[in-house]
Amino acid sequence: EAGVAQSPRYKIIEKRQSVAFWCNPISGHATLYWYQQILGQGPKLLIQFQNNGVVDDSQLPKDRFSAERLKGVDSTLKIQPAKLEDSAVYLCASTGGRGRGPRVGAFFGQGTRLTVV
């Protein structure tokens, strides 16, 4: 079974530039999450999708971050414009659970490491 795919693995941009990350969840998983993980900290939830609808985006900095999951499968997360403090690993996770959070069999991708200079 293929895991959660994310790309790119690494990205270096200058502040004020824009960047986009892509995630392809496990086939059939209805719930998709984007997390931000700053070095030395636990992952912080940015947004949670159930199919193509947003369940929770309360911690998404909406002035600069946006995410979509148009067809309920792949998802993209965008930052525009980027700030130095956005340097982090961006993790995507998916689960077949019905909005109950990552459960047994919840899978994370390897993440995209973003460096803003």
Partner: protein, 111 residues
């Protein structure tokens, strides 16, 4: 506010010893808890979970204990091996599926 985890964390153990990693959570309404293992350059990997109506659950070499009275969670790893070296996160699930991670504990296993 929402918070899970302790502010620390490095735990160094000898290979073959048992490891105990602790975690405090703050939301009494959480009903599902998970321990994740994260190796360098990889995403978190599910280890074991426990529901709030349980106080103990065992897996292969791992045991999770839940004390709802003091809102405390622990992960016990038996006969710790070098491959267990990683950062361990506890996480709690809130209503609607929101998963909150703690800050993590780095486990270092000495051969």
């Amino acid at each position: 506010g929402e918070s899970v985890g302790l502010h620390l964390p490095t735990l160094s153990v000898q290979e073959g010893d048992n490891s105990i990693i602790n975690c405090a959570y703050s939301n009494s309404a959480s009903d599902y808890f998970i321990w994740y293992k994260q190796e360098s350059g990889k995403g978190p990997q599910f280890i074991i979970d426990i529901r709030s109506n349980m106080d103990k659950r065992q897996g292969q070499r791992v045991t999770v204990l839940l004390n709802k009275t003091v809102k405390h969670l622990s992960l016990q790893i038996a006969a710790t091996q070098p491959g267990d070296s990683a950062v361990y996160f506890c996480a709690e699930t809130l209503r609607g599926g929101k998963l909150i991670f703690g800050q993590g504990t780095e486990l270092s296993v000495k051969p």
